[in-house]
């Protein structure tokens, strides 16, 4: 999920605060189809979730991405809250506030992923898939175009880059990744409730990305692992979670504005440069 998010935020410089919604759409697509309709093709359910996410992302993205600035962040913030309320409201389908239970395990290619270990491999399979695709993407001319858009849209457009279309593509792509993650999560957890897809998820994504290092793709994974470990080990302080995340975010922005990976890369580059100069 964070990998796709990095394409949007780290490369295109567009901030979305509604990715919890796409995560939720993916999860509920998997959950509802399996529990309410006895539909046991999780891959197809995942595709349906992706389809719904794409349509909704397109509807938000087209108007708000034509504008420069933080319009996308505001629009998606509202969207995330709306989707959450819809999930709570549609009792019959979603189980309302108490959520959906007994979502079966993920099945794919004749395999059932019913234990943690098996699931672990399934998740990493998808992560690796998305990682390879995304790395290919950002290393191509499109990655360069995204970086150009982030810096200055006017200059980018003079390089024959259709700015609005590329921003929309990055947004759709990140929504798809979030939706895939949602379906995987639903089948793993077995139970999903609206609480699990609150606005905080979107905030967590932003913090994870900045901590790991935005615009590096790998940074998202590092940030996610790091902060997940941190929050597990600090779970006894749950009521302080919000201020804790806020504090981490502020500290990262002050001391490591390029994140863990960005800072390391910077250190290596400086080292490289020095050895080159000394070599002369």
């Amino acid at each position: 999920m964070l990998i796709g998010f990095d394409v949007l935020v780290g490369y295109c410089g567009q901030l979305s605060l509604g990715h919890n919604a796409f995560f939720a759409i993916g999860a509920y697509s998997g959950g509802i189809l399996a529990v309410k309709y006895n539909f046991h093709h999780p891959l197809l359910a995942m595709a349906i979730g992706i389809g719904i996410s794409l349509i909704l992302a397109w509807m938000i993205g087209v108007p708000s991405l034509r504008l420069k600035g933080y319009y996308l962040a505001i629009a998606t913030l509202g969207f995330g809250l709306i989707i959450n309320n819809i999930i709570i409201g549609m009792n019959a389908l979603t189980g309302g506030a108490s959520g959906l239970n007994f979502i079966p395990s993920f099945k794919m290619a004749g395999l059932t992923f019913d234990t943690d270990i098996k699931y672990y491999f399934l998740v990493w399979f998808f992560v690796a898939l998305i990682l390879v695709v995304t790395l290919n993407l950002v290393k191509s001319r499109f990655g360069r175009a995204f970086l150009a858009i982030q810096e200055e849209e006017t200059f980018a457009s003079m390089m024959r880059i259709p700015v609005a279309r590329y921003k929309l593509f990055a947004f759709l792509y990140s929504a798809v990744c979030a939706s895939i993650a949602g379906t995987l999560y639903a089948h793993y957890a077995g139970t999903i409730t609206p609480d699990g897809f609150s606005f905080m998820i979107s905030i967590h994504m932003v913090v994870m990305l900045f901590l790991g290092g935005k615009g590096t793709i790998w940074g998202g994974i590092i940030g996610a692992v790091f902060l997940k470990l941190l929050s597990e080990s600090l779970s006894s302080f749950q009521e302080y979670e919000m201020p804790l995340w806020a504090a981490i975010f502020i500290l990262v922005l002050i001391f490591m504005p390029r994140g863990i990976l960005g800072t390391l890369q910077g250190a290596f580059q400086r080292f490289d440069l020095r050895t080159i100069q000394e070599g002369k």
Binding site: N136, R141, A148, T154, A156, M158, M159, R160
Partner: protein, 260 residues
Amino acid sequence: MESAYLELKNVSKNFNGLLAVDRLSFSVAKGQIVSIIGPNGAGKTSVMNLITGVYPVTSGEILFQGMRLNGKEPHEVASLGISRTFQNVGLFKEITVLENVMVGLHGMVKSGVFSSMMGFPSVRQGEKEIRRKSLSALATINLGNKRNFLAANLSYGDQKLVELARAVVSVPKLLLLDEPGAGLNETEKEKLIRLILALKKEGMAILLVEHHMEMIMRISDNIVVLNFGHKIAEGCPEDISRNPDVITAYLGVDTSDAGD
């Protein structure tokens, strides 16, 4: 005059009541260098922004090889073979020099998003080609050894050169240069003049906005003089330097003039 590449016909631009460009007409032919001069605020950069579609035209017509540019998006205008540089260096500062030039070739290959994601060999081939061309473009401005520097870390003069390289690497038909000589020292300016003349020789049409009169007089085929968005004179360098209206506008005899 042979085939006009770029033609402006009675073009006006109105910014909320301020007439920035007033019924302007002129044309640029293949292999010709046309300069726009005028005091600050005369509307020179606005003309560039109108041609490239950054601002919509209020009235009049802009034609490129007979095709109307009115209402086209900047990326569409660029795709027709029009490149430009910007007044205060339009480089992307947080990526490297080489990457900057490579962005200039974004439209060269047609590889799609999907094949890029899959990393097809055709995509790699295209990337290689872009890289090779970009490196040779950097070599012509003698900046090949600084290709991995972040653009922000180059000297101002080098940044201007890289921006020029990025604009011409795609071999445009028309090149718009917005004050390419500003902030350059004498040596750098000489280098710039040589580069511009070489491009002209290759048949590129060039529209130049500049303040350095000496440079303009040396390289222009035709000069358009603007004052308050209005064309007050047009002609070859000798005529312009003797035109009384131009001298008045530049020396600011009228006290309401902004001067230069």
